[in-house]
């Protein structure tokens, strides 16, 4: 258990040492701040004291950022040979995978943390639906979980980080857009099936304030499935 935390914290430090974390946080905050407060259909046009604009922006930017963060998780270690260093220590494949998962997850939490200011600002302006905002954040974290898991899986499969990130992005597009589009083109069983697979369906239902166990099962099962596949691929390495 401790091993997971040690690996995660080391990785998190690397994100900060290599400036990746700063660049990411800066871009993320810049983007979300710009679109939430200044540009287009910003928060003042909604007519309600909610953060839905911000959640939509974050929903899209995390989708793009996460594959970049996870691309080197396993592929990079394999390339540098440090995978051998780690896995010959008392570290199991699960420890490594979960450590990598947690490190990126922590980074996302750190990137999201300053945006709590938006919430306080909004609170000062008008009556805020507190639980809706809390659920919005939970939705973002659940969604990040899914994309981090997909990113780690592709990083296990592809030995090249660029390929890993691009394939994570293309798998992500299915969950992000394509299943949704398919769902609206089908009726009956397939319609329901694709609608269930689409991440946006579940994300929206959570941000709307409805927490259904079905949604939670969806997020957790996809994450677990991807992490489990990653572990299996890592265990069957023939190096």
């Amino acid at each position: 258990m401790k091993q997971i935390l040690h690996i995660a914290l080391r990785e998190l430090n690397t994100f900060f040492d290599s400036l990746t974390a700063y660049v990411l946080i800066l871009i993320f905050l810049g983007f979300s701040g710009f679109f939430t407060w200044i540009y287009g259909a910003d928060i003042f046009f909604v007519g309600q004291a909610n953060l839905n604009t911000f959640f939509t922006v974050a929903y899209w930017s995390l989708f793009v950022f996460i594959p970049v963060l996870t691309m080197k998780s396993i592929a990079g270690e394999l390339k540098a040979g440090t995978l051998e260093l780690l896995l010959t220590k008392p570290v199991s494949d699960w420890h490594l995978i979960l450590g990598k998962f947690l490190s990126t997850f922590f980074l996302i939490v750190i990137a999201l943390a300053p945006t709590v200011l938006y919430y306080f600002t909004l609170w000062a302006i008008g009556p805020v639906d507190h639980s809706a905002i809390l659920l919005g954040y939970i939705g973002l974290l659940l969604m990040s979980m899914v994309y981090i898991s997909i990113g780690i899986l592709t990083s296990c499969i592809a030995s090249n980080p660029i390929i890993a990130s691009l394939s994570a992005l293309s798998i992500g597009i299915f969950f992000h857009i394509i299943f949704d589009v398919l769902a609206s083109n089908f009726v009956g069983f397939f319609g329901g099936f694709f609608s269930y697979l689409s991440l946006s369906t579940h994300f929206e239902s959570i941000t709307r304030g409805v927490v259904d166990t079905k949604d939670l099962i969806y997020f957790f099962s996809i994450s677990f499935f991807c992490l489990f596949c990653s572990k299996t691929i890592l265990s069957n390495r023939n190096l």
Partner: protein, 309 residues
């Protein structure tokens, strides 16, 4: 802790990197693993340190099988991989601390262990540098330090002295010898002198199979065939000396090494020595010996002979 390797076989595609290899290493023994490139040294070491799973066979480390209890084995092994992979962007102290934590070294012991390793491996002057900024020799020392930090029972070192300068090589050898007194050490190398200087036992592996298993002495004895002498004889014509030498009964063959300096290479018949008869012949014919050196069979020759076929 003993290491028992039983019928280890590992394939990469159709090629067998290691083919039915079995050997034992007793606790407190220093075993040298020799072999040409691609012989299967690294594969065997990776299998012992639980990085790869062999298709067939088992390895028992202190009674634990690599298939069933890899966690228990990994705790007791300090492993230095072949190309010494390290986190280049970390500094030495942070890196060693991370490795110590991963090994569950008690928190209060960590600073002490790190200092100890920095001192033992001669990293004092560099300890605040990033690993990526170090020269190869210093990186190798960091690699050794990380392998030793949790005070393991077993040390597995894959080519520990590559990239080191001669002084460092001597230091590292001393270090290995010192560690080898209380711990089990397996080290691989293709430098024979190194293995001879540090190891109690030598294992030569070729094409995935063990070809020799024994001490350096035993190896020499096994390969030492007939007596070979390098002899310089002066005081006469080369041709006459040559003829005289040929008349000695115990001599099998005579070769010229240097005609101008009257240097010969003389090989005796099996189980006989020609030193005395050469001397007697020279006295009888009024010649004198300017040089007489027995040629010892070099380990290099044995190695070449065993691994070239």
């Amino acid at each position: 802790m003993d290491i028992v390797v039983e019928h280890l076989t590992k394939r990469y595609g159709p090629q067998k990197a290691v083919d039915n290899v079995s050997f034992r290493v007793k606790a407190g023994e220093v075993l040298g693993f020799l072999g040409p490139n691609g012989a299967g040294k690294t594969t065997t070491m990776k299998a012992i340190s639980c990085y790869i799973k062999p298709e067939e066979g088992d390895i028992l480390v202190g009674g634990y099988s690599i298939h069933e209890h890899p966690e228990m084995i990994k705790k007791n092994i300090g492993y230095l991989p072949e190309n010494n992979p390290l986190y280049q962007e970390m500094n030495i102290i942070d890196f060693l601390e991370f490795i110590a934590k991963i090994h569950s070294v008690p928190k209060y012991l960590i600073p002490e262990r790190i200092l100890d390793m920095v001192r033992t491996c001669g990293l004092e002057g560099e300890k605040h540098k990033l690993i990526g900024e170090l020269s190869k020799g210093y990186q190798q020392r960091v690699g050794l330090a990380q392998a030793l930090i949790h005070d393991p029972e077993i040390l597995i070192l894959d080519e520990p002295t590559t990239g080191l300068d001669p002084n460092q090589i001597v230091e590292i050898r001393e270090l290995i010898k010192r560690i080898g007194k209380e711990k089990t050490v397996i080290l691989s190398s293709h430098i024979l002198a190194e293995v001879e200087a540090t190891c109690d036992r030598i294992l030569i592996i070729n094409n995935g199979r063990i070809v020799v298993d024994g001490t350096a002495e035993e190896l020499r004895k096994q390969a030492a065939g007939n007596e070979i002498l390098k002899v310089g004889i002066q005081g006469g014509e080369v041709k006459d000396i040559f003829d005289l030498l040929f008349q000695i009964e115990t001599i099998e063959s005579v070769d010229f090494i240097d005609v101008d300096k009257n240097l010969f290479e003389i090989q005796s018949k099996p189980d006989s020595s020609s030193v005395k008869s050469i001397f007697d012949t020279c006295v009888k014919n009024d010649l004198y010996i300017s040089e007489l050196t027995p040629t010892e069979t070099k380990l290099e020759d044995i190695f070449r002979e065993l691994t070239l076929h």
